[in-house]
Symmetry: C2
Subunit: 193 residues, 2 copies
């Protein structure tokens, strides 16, 4: 797929930057291909060569940046793995553009079932797979019960950080992130919590 | 203040319903006084008699419904109080209109500092005061340490439920809400967690 290869080759290219800037500034609803083209000083044809639609453009640009930011390979240390997952969420959502883009896409998804399904599959589930791998490794090591409610634990990794940064527009401090890690370990039934 | 009295007298009045319906359907950014007037089969003058602006109209309608939904008087039972707070969040966000309106206002607030400040003061802080009262009562009873991080605990009461319903567009089950209560009690340092 040429589109993906192009993006991998240079996430910092001008058109991708223009998509992110425009999305952060006006939101998905008001974003137009014209607006992105103007900002990128490119023609609309250049956009349509890469993406078939506005939705595809937004999804690919946002997921290509967001999914790798959740990447975490499980180690032997559960607390450390959870800390990396939680800090990964904070790094993602403290990015000036992502702190606007992600709440906007969440809001838009409540009115757009097709976007909602694509976001769940390509962004949410793709990011959560990294957290699931950490939980699965801890289950394999016998540190976490196979009956753990992974869905709930994965929610806890992201939810307080999202709520603090995007919902309440407050900072997350290292102490705050430590509390989130402790909370997640408790939900995992880990004796370290 | 006539406006508040009017609303108290009949939250279900046609104009308020039209504001909520229109807000849920199109979001704050695309909402117009004309759109609300059309939906309410009222004149725009009727809206401006009650509210000075679109922002004031939205804020008053949303807070007048949302804040009382967080109301919880502390009892002697911390686990019970926390459960009522958590279920209150779930009741609020499972409402078909609120599940669209709240994420939309959160997204809008990232681009509109005046709306953000008003939402924090009139909606967020007003709702959180009820949770703070529960924590304060537990501190007075000696069940919770005065050093507890209330800000974090208050985030935990709302964040997973918001994330589950609005961020992931999934159901919250009674079992899920029980887990949230357990998580909050753990963050409070309660021996019951």
């Amino acid at each position: 797929m040429r589109t993906r290869a192009t993006l991998r080759a240079g996430v910092t290219d001008g058109i991708v930057e223009a998509v992110l800037d425009e999305l952060a500034a006006v939101g998905f609803g008001r974003l137009t291909m014209d607006g992105v083209a103007r900002r990128a000083r490119a023609g609309k044809a250049a956009l349509y060569r890469r993406w078939s639609s506005k939705q595809e453009m937004v999804l690919e640009v946002v997921t290509t940046i967001s999914v790798p930011m959740a990447e975490t390979a499980p180690t032997e240390d559960l607390a450390d793995d959870v800390a990396r997952l939680v800090h990964g969420v904070a790094d993602w959502l403290t990015d000036a553009r992502m702190s606007r883009i992600i709440p906007d896409l969440i809001a838009e998804a409540t009115r757009n079932p097709e976007l909602a399904a694509a976001l769940t599959e390509r962004l949410g589930s793709a990011r959560r797979n990294y957290g699931q791998a950490v939980i699965d490794a801890a289950i394999t090591r016998g540190e976490v019960s196979p009956d753990v409610d992974s869905e709930y634990v994965l929610d806890l990794i992201a939810a307080p950080v999202f709520w603090r940064i995007c919902g309440r527009r407050e900072q997350v401090t290292p102490a705050y992130l430590n509390r989130v890690v402790d909370t997640v370990l408790h939900a995992l039934g880990s004796p370290r919590a």
